[in-house]
């Protein structure tokens, strides 16, 4: 028995936003780390082509942000919240305290400090955090990217060119955090036992009732039943890929400690083995995720 988990628009928003976002990281990070990721320019045929592609994917991300942002807000106003547990656009004190309490209880259960796992609605605390954090970070990137794309249109840059470099540091810093975010997000939702090799619910829009009863117990009673077959996966390889992701994240967490403040040149990192390994593995993983997302999206349409 399957349940309808995500609408067509939600699946499309995830696909377009994630692929364009990951391509922006792949084409943009080599500018911040040219010593370690210079090989990426070679893949795309040089730095000029890579930067052109960066702008093309930026346009796709901006389209996705404006289109889906408007669509979801209007849909919520016209149709209400449906089976979602996010009340009042997630802005009420009641909802925020519910999310925080859910997070604390869930972590306590994970650590063995609480007997029963808290029951969640359609979106648990980590999904709610993703839903709100990602658009905020994308918006910061769009604004700072726009200033760098059209610096002469912004008075504060033309009256003081030094501020251009402040904007660049913020853009690069958020991009580096987004690399961590994507790897953690995929590691948690796709590479974990029961989900590996890929959690298809965001691509097919369906989830098995059995899985939903464990992870989103409160939602099951209001969810819509749909046709489809559950595919179980129990490969032990998930532990190998999970370990690789965690090693990669630990190595990436070291990178900011290796950064030096080089005034107007921003934050720079010298040739360091751990940094080269962390960034190289991170970007290769992103390339694999882009390919996997395209394959999964096509499979999701057919299912």
């Amino acid at each position: 028995m399957m349940l309808k988990r995500f609408s067509w628009h939600q699946r499309l928003a995830h696909f377009v936003g994630s692929v364009s976002g990951m391509m922006l990281l792949i084409t943009g990070l080599p500018i911040m780390f040219p010593e370690h990721l210079g090989w990426v320019f070679g893949i795309f045929g040089g730095s000029t082509v890579t930067m052109f592609l960066h702008r093309v994917f930026a346009v796709i991300l901006i389209f996705s942000f404006a289109y889906f942002g408007t669509y979801f807000v209007l849909e919520r106003i016209v149709r209400g919240r449906g089976d979602s547990n996010i009340k009042n656009f997630g802005l009420s004190a009641e909802f925020i305290s519910e999310v925080v309490a859910g997070a604390v209880r869930d972590i306590l259960w994970t650590l063995g400090l609480r007997r029963e796992r808290p029951k969640f609605g359609k979106y648990d605390w980590i999904m709610v955090s993703d839903i709100y954090l990602l658009p905020v970070l994308a918006f910061i990137e769009i604004i700072t990217g726009t200033i760098m794309w059209f610096p002469r249109s912004f008075d504060f840059v033309t009256s003081n060119p030094g501020l251009f470099f402040v904007v660049r540091t913020i853009h690069a810093g958020v991009a580096f955090f987004l690399l961590l975010f994507v790897l953690a997000h995929a590691g948690i939702l796709h590479l974990t036992p029961g989900n590996f090799p890929i959690n298809m619910s965001i691509f097919s829009g369906k989830i098995s009732r059995r899985k939903a009863e464990v992870e989103h117990e409160k939602w099951v009673e209001v969810a819509e039943e749909v046709e489809g077959e559950e595919k179980k996966s129990s490969s032990k390889l998930c532990y190998v890929f999970g370990a690789i992701t965690i090693v990669n994240l630990i190595a990436l967490a070291y990178v900011p400690f290796a950064m030096r403040n080089e005034w107007l040149a921003g934050l720079r990192v010298s040739g360091d083995g751990i940094v080269t390994f962390a960034l190289g593995l991170g970007v290769v993983t992103l390339i694999v995720y882009v390919i996997a997302s395209v394959i999964a999206f096509v499979k999701g349409i057919k299912s």
Binding site: W149, F150, P161, T192, G194
Partner: protein
């Protein structure tokens, strides 16, 4: 109603996109005069502005570095905890 929502969202997206698409082929990262240069600032103001810029940039560089250091540690801890959570959920499901 669904079509009307799609139409409004599409128009908003096209309006938002216009300045970017119309400039996509005219800008190159490595050449062109779109980047504002210090030489365009009057010489009597340049020194003061440069000094102020260095102070501001240094503050932001340091702040971003500290935030990334904290965020990196936080993301590692959260990922390990969440991975273990799914391991526990799966173990209970199988049992």
């Amino acid at each position: 109603m669904s079509r009307a929502i799609v139409a409004v969202a599409f128009v908003v997206a096209l309006i938002a996109l216009y300045p970017y698409v119309s400039n996509i082929s005219t800008v190159s990262s490595l050449k062109g005069s779109y980047v504002f240069k210090w030489s365009e600032i009057p010489i009597e103001k340049r020194g003061t502005l440069y000094g102020e810029s260095l102070k501001t940039v240094t503050k932001f560089n340091n702040a971003v570095k500290v935030l990334l250091e904290i965020a990196g540690i936080f993301v590692v801890i959260l990922t390990v905890v969440e991975y273990y959570k799914y391991y526990k959920i799966h173990k209970e499901e199988v049992e």
